[in-house]
Symmetry: C2
Subunit: 386 residues, 2 copies
């Protein structure tokens, strides 16, 4: 029946990482591979209260919380997002997680073979969502200061005309790098000059445990699309994210979303709204959350004890680094034998690089489990280096 | 900036019905236009209990209810859906409403200009979701017994090779028609012979208030994709639907969904699961729900008093019929003046027909409001016929 499949149905890649992660889902394996936020830090009780307020006697929003809603999202949540981002609510759209925002922006901007710039290494979910349009992915280098705008500038001066440039600006997945202020300004200036859309994906910004927040790309250009989500702040199971887009993109994105799922769960939107609107709760929760991730990051760094060459992140969920002289795909097989898993770097690199790199997530396991996972990783490296 | 838009970004139509419904959203207008289920019949208290059981002390599913989950949907809900449909759980996929199922199936089967068969009249949301792939829509007639399989057979014998045939088999939107047993069997036989996918969209099947259920298309062919949803049974705000697909479609659909939104809200899935798993609640709720719609249907029919030529539906939310000698788009303007709204038939008809037809929804308003709405419609018809 394969002859009935569309081009996409035939060619859309299985996610390599997904197949790989399945291998690591064995009961005795401690996983540094997943990108699951700390479940023990979910604000379960506050979300329970929120659902009670939404559905309980005299429910806060009446039947709206269970009825069909506007494709753009419920007004109250759009207003809150607009206020937080400093943009008009009318240019915000509530999405079914950030992943949907990527799918929608790709649908309305990218035709097959259109040039799309992505960092090396890049977030795999973005490669998959944008990849559904079969663009011509253009790799741009990145380092501890994020996407290398010098490299991008060189490509643009040589004639590259990208439809969009995709980047995770804070505590990037997989590298943990945060784009420097100078590069943010430069990326904005390039977008203004060469007229491409910059997708500034920021799921982790609130998880900063060191240093000061930096301004988002939209402060430097009118060509920015800003993505945000409740996934790392409240809970990914809600699937409530948002995007703020230039005015000319509102109509196309909303029409694409209407076809995609009519609208994001109104129930989940109102539950998220109730929690996000509770300033004292949110402030305390974010402080506690950052502390959880700071402590876990430190615990893993301590236990790795120099095994991996890396830059320490200022927040987020990931460590990225090299284990010189080791092929990380080979190492993974040995690591699973030793009872620990991670993601080999090549999975994130569209240019074939990353074979000596690893992504280690410190988000999911507690501190003692992280120490044990690192000890097992030491053993695995010792085995294959022996 | 329009030159940055993709083909889809430039061409995806604004939904005519959406713009039109906005006109009818005036406070004094009684709307027979929307497809909103009866909010006063939402099982609010049972859903509140479900959220309490999911999130309360010792939460039924632990952190899974708030964590990232499998793209295919949570196992327990897939098993329930598989059991209810009589198919293996492994061939079911939980979707963000049925609308997403349409988007996904179109993505993996349909390339631009591929032939796709739709009924005349057809569900507008399907035209929009599938339309995102820019297929060549082939209209096939329908009547009180649903999609006209004689017409379809004729087209197939003349060389039509559709990728898929889309139909709503029970209490169709907009016509209220239910496909006869003979035509279900014939459609299945045609799919077997000519090897196209039949999408059997069944959001309303549980809202039967007359007659006996008929077997779904999948009982007659291995080429059927069955769509279902909690939207009309529990609440549309959950955005929890499902699809059962032939085995060869599981992989492509799951990969497309992964790029689209990673997975449907685990929170909403577990809340829906808890309610759907409660047999005594569900049985009583469905009886009560069918009675609400039966009574509303009867109330509207009584008050219309022959104004519209129609076949009475056996369930669902819609009446469809002709008002001979009247252009229903013109009538709508007059109707809004008189304080009532409906959807003109042409909005559902890709072949340009339907200009003397109307879709009237009896789902949203209570019985006395339906009587008043019908009285206003009488006045509007009187005005423009005078």
């Amino acid at each position: 029946m394969d002859e009935l499949l569309s081009y996409r149905g035939r060619h859309a890649g299985s996610s390599a990482i997904r197949d790989l992660l399945r291998l690591t889902e064995q009961p005795d394996v401690l996983s540094l591979a997943g990108g699951l936020p700390a479940a023990d830090a979910f604000p379960v009780e506050r979300l329970r209260q929120a659902t009670e307020r939404v559905l309980g006697a005299g429910g806060l929003y009446g039947p709206r919380a269970l009825q069909y809603g506007p494709t753009e999202g419920v007004d109250e949540l759009r207003e809150l997002v607009g206020r937080n981002l400093g943009v008009p609510a009318a240019t915000t759209i509530i999405t079914t997680g950030s992943q949907q925002a990527l799918d929608l922006i790709a649908k309305v901007l990218v035709d097959r073979d259109d040039p799309v710039v992505v960092e090396v290494p890049a977030y795999i979910g973005a490669l998959q969502a944008i990849g559904g349009q079969f663009p011509n992915f253009i790799p741009v280098r990145s380092d501890a200061e994020g996407l290398d705008t010098d490299h991008l500038g060189e490509l643009l001066r040589n004639g590259l005309k990208p439809k969009l440039v995709y980047t995770v600006t804070n505590f990037q997945n997989p590298t943990g790098a945060t784009m420097s202020l100078a590069r943010r300004a430069e990326l904005g200036a390039l977008a203004e000059q060469y007229r491409f859309v910059v997708v500034d994906d920021d799921p982790y910004g609130a998880l900063r445990f060191r240093g000061e927040p930096l301004p988002p790309i939209r402060q430097f250009t009118s060509m920015a699309v800003s993505l945000g989500t409740t996934s790392k702040v409240l809970a990914p199971g809600l699937r409530v994210g948002w995007m703020a887009v230039p005015e000319w993109l509102v109509g196309p994105v909303v029409r694409a979303k209407q076809g995609a799922d009519l609208h994001t769960s109104t129930f989940a939107q109102f539950v998220a709204l109730d929690a996000l609107n509770d300033g004292p709760f949110l402030a305390a929760h974010l402080v506690a959350l950052a502390e959880v991730y700071r402590a876990r990051c430190q615990a893993l760094l301590r236990a790795l004890d120099g095994l991996v060459e890396l830059h320490e992140p200022d927040g987020g969920m990931f460590l990225w680094g090299r284990i010189p002289g080791v092929n990380s795909a080979d190492l993974l097989k040995q690591a699973v034998e030793c009872g620990v898993a991670f993601v080999p770097g090549s999975a994130f690199c569209i240019d074939g690089s990353g074979s000596d790199s690893v992504r280690l997530s410190y988000a999911t396991l507690n501190e003692s489990a992280l120490a044990e996972a690192a000890a097992r990783l030491h053993r695995a490296v010792h085995f294959i280096s022996a």
